[in-house]
């Protein structure tokens, strides 16, 4: 069964169809790309998948479970995590606390246990700290664990956002332009990290990207969006050869 199956998804804003009749199947363990020119509706698809927007039509299934129309927090619990195009960290929290927020659901001690420092608090906080440290190490951020997230350099902020997303133990990870603003060296490093976390955490990954080097380098399959509609779908090398796609990207 597919990890994510999307059926005829549509949404419009003020009468304008932002995404129309969008369908997609992502197999478990896949690394899938969603590409398209600016304003094609890629981020809108992410917002639909994560419950930020309610679709007008269509069904979204995650691992067989219907998650259409659920609120964002419930979708996170169901197993979708995401990053944002315009990085959204918890700026006033330390680097490690950002990851700890991601571990919120996995260690559910009560408010009273927290305030009174009961044994369940001590035990679970220890586990949270260990787990968060592990995740930071993977992204090479453990050196800055106590720094305020706002004070991290740009590239590190992108990595921290991914670390936080993984902390929620997702089945499906959505990455919104993870390489935006990175230099070629950083992009290559990021590609390796993405491959690594897919193995390590048994993830299925859907990513939006402009950087063709990254897309053709790691995505096995692609969907191309243009003006809210699907232009092409299939194996990466086939899609990139599609004349319609080339026209949409390079213009007439």
């Amino acid at each position: 069964m597919a990890m994510l199956s999307v059926d005829h998804l549509s949404i419009s804003f003020g009468g304008l169809a932002a995404v129309y009749n969008f369908s997609m199947e992502i197999e478990k363990g896949a690394l899938y790309g969603l590409i398209g020119p600016n304003g094609a509706g890629k981020t809108t698809v992410f917002n639909l998948l994560t419950g930020v927007y309610q679709p007008k039509e269509g069904i979204i299934r995650l691992d067989g479970q219907d998650i259409t129309g659920l609120p964002p927090a419930r979708i996170s619990h169901a197993g979708i995590a995401r990053t944002f195009q315009n990085i959204r960290l918890f700026q006033g929290l330390s680097v490690i606390d950002n990851v700890k927020v991601g571990l919120h659901e996995s260690f559910p001690y009560g408010t009273l246990a927290g305030v009174l420092r009961l044994p369940s608090y001590r035990k679970q906080e220890k586990a949270i700290d260990d787990r968060a440290t592990e995740l930071l190490k993977i992204f090479d951020l453990d050196g800055q664990r106590d720094l305020l997230a706002a004070n991290l350099p740009y590239g590190a902020q992108r990595k921290l956002e991914i670390a936080r997303a993984i902390a929620t133990k997702p089945k499906l990870l959505l990455l919104d332009e993870p390489a935006a603003g990175m230099n070629p060296g950083e992009t290559t490093e990021l590609m390796n990290t993405i491959r690594l976390i897919r193995e390590e955490f048994d993830l299925t990954i859907l990513l939006i990207e402009h950087d063709m080097q990254l897309v053709s380098g790691i995505c096995e399959e692609l969907t191309v969006l243009n003006f809210g509609r699907m232009l092409a779908q299939g194996r990466t090398k086939d899609v990139l050869k599609d004349p319609e796609v080339i026209r949409a990207y390079l213009g007439e």
């Binding site: 619990h77 918890f90 991601g102 919120h104 608090y121």
Partner: protein, 350 residues
């Protein structure tokens, strides 16, 4: 080891030392009666400021109606004490008055939070103000009493008739009188310490992280699986409850609450906001220090008292401009960089 203890509990120790000093000076007769009378209000304003900072600094929602929650705590605690004056021993009664005052303030915080927390920013602020004013206006208009026939509640003095042996609890604009004077500096300090313990421990737990995550980025918090409404409600309710505790201290200190609009109007809420801003938004200990200093200073310097409010206003504006204006921030950053290069150069030359 000593360092971590100092970092964690240093502020509690400072407060205890302050309490010890004041108590010793008081016992030695070295404090004027005027100064002594300021000590209890100082503690409850500090507590109320911490409550407001939990809402403004930690939850990130500006409330300008927190005096209303203090009002609820003050009235419900006082009414409980009046009802049980003859039945319960002083200490137990005062303790239960806290329980009642806190419970009522929390209940109102919860009920008001349901609609209020759905709003954002300016709207939220103005609605908290509206609720604060409603609480104050209603309590000023209400007549409440008990006698052999049961409970009497009325909005009109002329229809409010009690049997001669009845006990009037709220007498319209004249408010509540005859509350036992149970509040003391020591009790105030204990409640303050408990409040700090509660808020610090809350912040340093998964709930606290969730609340601050919502403050920093609601959309990301939701996407990370945080139940936003639940944690907003939690923080707001606890904040109201703490303000209620401050209210109980208040009513059991002044004993007669007439003209409550002088104490619980929106100016009172704004005074609390001044404490929070000056102490640092989100800095809990800072609120305590700011409340204590700002409350004591003008009272001590009588000449300054005329200008107190004016100074508060200027402080409020300047603090915002210095801390938040993008232009000022940029200039500060440049100055810092300049000084840094200067110092390192001077260091090298030396």
């Amino acid at each position: 080891m000593l360092k971590t203890i100092g970092k964690k509990y240093g502020f509690y120790i400072v407060i205890v030392l302050f309490w010890l000093l004041m108590t010793l000076l008081g016992n030695a007769g070295m404090l004027t009666s005027h100064f002594s009378s300021l000590l209890v209000p100082m503690t409850y304003y500090a507590i109320a400021a911490v409550a407001l900072n939990l809402c403004v600094g930690i939850l990130g929602e500006l409330s300008i109606g927190h005096a209303g929650f203090m009002c609820i705590g003050a009235f419900s605690g006082a009414i409980f004490s009046l009802l049980t004056k003859e039945v319960l021993p002083g200490g137990l009664r005062f303790f239960l008055a806290f329980v009642v005052g806190i419970a009522f303030a929390a209940l109102f915080g919860f009920l008001i939070g349901i609609p209020v927390l759905r709003l954002k920013g300016d709207y939220l602020a103005i609605v908290t103000l509206a609720f604060g004013e409603i609480i104050k206006n209603v309590l000023q208009a209400v007549y409440l009493g008990v006698d052999a026939q049961g409970v009497h509640l009325s909005l009109d003095m002329t229809t409010f008739r009690m049997e001669p042996d009845g006990l009037t609890l709220i007498k319209g604009a004249q408010g509540v009188s005859g509350t036992p004077r149970n509040s003391s500096f020591t009790v105030g300090i204990i409640v303050l310490l408990l409040t700090l313990f509660l808020v610090h421990h809350l912040m340093d737990s998964r709930d606290g992280r969730a609340i601050m995550a919502i403050r920093d980025n609601r959309i990301a918090a939701e996407a990370t699986g945080i139940h936003v409404t639940r944690y907003k409600m939690l923080a707001f309710t606890i904040s109201a409850a703490i303000a209620g505790a401050a209210g109980v201290l208040f009513s059991h200190n002044v004993t007669t609450m007439t003209n409550i609009s002088n104490y619980f109007n929106y100016n009172a809420s704004i005074m609390l906001l001044v404490y929070v801003v000056l102490g640092g938004i989100g800095n809990i200990n800072g609120s305590v220090i700011a409340a204590m200093i700002l409350y004591l200073l003008p009272e001590l310097m009588r000449g300054l008292n005329r200008y107190r409010m004016l100074i508060y206003a200027i402080v409020l504006i300047l603090m915002m401009l210095v801390n938040w204006a993008p232009g000022v921030q940029e200039r500060r950053r440049r100055l810092k960089a300049f000084l840094k290069t200067r110092l390192t150069r001077a260091g090298k030359e030396a």
